[in-house]
Amino acid sequence: MTRPVILLLAALAFALPISLLAGQVWIDPFGPPVPNATTILMELRLPRALLALVLGSGLGAAGAAMQGYLRNPLADPGLFGIAPAAALGAVLSFYSGYESQGVTLPLFALVGAASAMALLALIAGRSGGITLFTLAGMMIASLAGALTSLAISLAPNPFALSEIVTWLMGALADRGWHEVRLAAPLTLLGLVGLWRAGPALDALALGEAAARSLGVEPARLLGLMICSIGLIVGSGVAVAGMIGFVGLMVPHFVRPFTDQRPSATLVPSALAGALLLLAADCLCRVLPLQGGELRLGIALSLAGSPFFLRLLLKLRRNLA
């Protein structure tokens, strides 16, 4: 294990218990007993923390893999158009009227993600060309975005409208074991896929021709990427809505501490993503805000954009 991995694991081991204690009701393990502490911990905070770890690790690793695959530090798992398609599926589920059951929404989101994956594979699959693939992903994203807007504008009543918009912002509030059981296995499967793609992503650093000369099969790699990213992003949107920035930012944090190979950034990015989402969600819970919690998606963008701008300013010398 490399040093960044050990440090990140230690940070996670430290952050997880603290995140369980923090919230609207602070639980002080050494203080007077808090009523319903066990219920709060086991039914509210533990599943929520685990979900943050699952989604964060998935998004972090997916970002690292995407940047490796597209050989571009500005790439993001969202570029595939899978997240917007999953969101479209989820938004359509609001029309079915059973979203409160928590079954149709994730299901619709996963169907949306799967449709985007199938469409991507259909358009770009045979040639495995990266440019074609990126363009296809962007078109799917913009189509799904437009359809989502259409669905929102056709919302049957203001209540549904506000519910859809709020959901789209992404959050881990009020998520329970049901969501963990849904997202964890799918994300894990996606992570295994990305891990297997690692060596091919490393070879791609030398360009497509050199990568092929090293035995990389572009169509196979593309298939692996679509499936892995689809599982991670699809299940993430299904349980928590749109959570941006993690996949874009996290690889930048960890890359300087690795040898820069995409495969070497996968595990640290997964851990750092988990840590980031855990900390951000914790912060959302703690921050006093009228009318409920700060939405996780908003918080990440608020915190992430300035941080990223600062990073860009620092990198400017190297990029120029």
Binding site: A205, A209, S213, G215, D259, R261
Partner: protein, 273 residues
Amino acid sequence: MPVAITAPDGITAHDGIAVLEALGLTVARRLQNVTVQFQPGTVTAIVGPNGAGKSTLLAALAGLVRPDSGTVTLVSTPINQLLPQERARRLGYLPQSGEVAWNLSVRTLVGLGRLPHRSGPDADALAVAGALATMQLEPLAERTLSSLSGGERARALLARVLATQPHWILADEPLAALDLAHQQSLVQRLRSLAGRGFHTNGSGAERGGRGIVLVVHDLALAMNHADHVVVLNRGQVMAQGRPEKALSEAVIRDVWGLDARWLGEPGHMALGF
């Protein structure tokens, strides 16, 4: 009497027969019915005007271009019948663009050449160390690519190909971005690589030597340093053979439309106009 050579993967070849061969290779609008043989232990230069199909031929030899007709064979086996990893272990390919997406260290870059092998970290480290030593890159091993000069970078990229320990090195204009001194030193290194064996399984392998195929623009370089020259024009082979024959003044006039004369002594020739 032909001597059997056993290459690392158990391929058996004989002295004098072409190991890497393009047979009637046709690629739409790029190559027309190209038949060329490449000998192990020699340096072959592919030359020709812009758009002659040099890079396409090299990529086809590396198995990266699917020909419309014709085949590329490696010891009589069509390379498209080899598994990608198997092909990658035998044919090392250095593309023209020296792009590397991340700011890797030289050692990490060279280590990418081990991807087709599943030989374990110890064997990988040994091969990387060997490649770094051959290219005299040990002092630069921990430096990042962005801190290297053009010549150092070209050596590092070539070392990446060497780390694969391929039988064939196919390099597309490896000398293009280099100044004269670095061109000379890199070409000498490539020459000495062709003289060496695969150095993996004892004395038997030493006989064959690596085959080196280079796309070059500098005709004097090809004249002075190649054992064999293939002249392409508009996708067709115009001449091939010993440099003196393939790069005769008549061929240069026909292909490049230049009235040039070879000046100087063999091994130190220059073109005069």
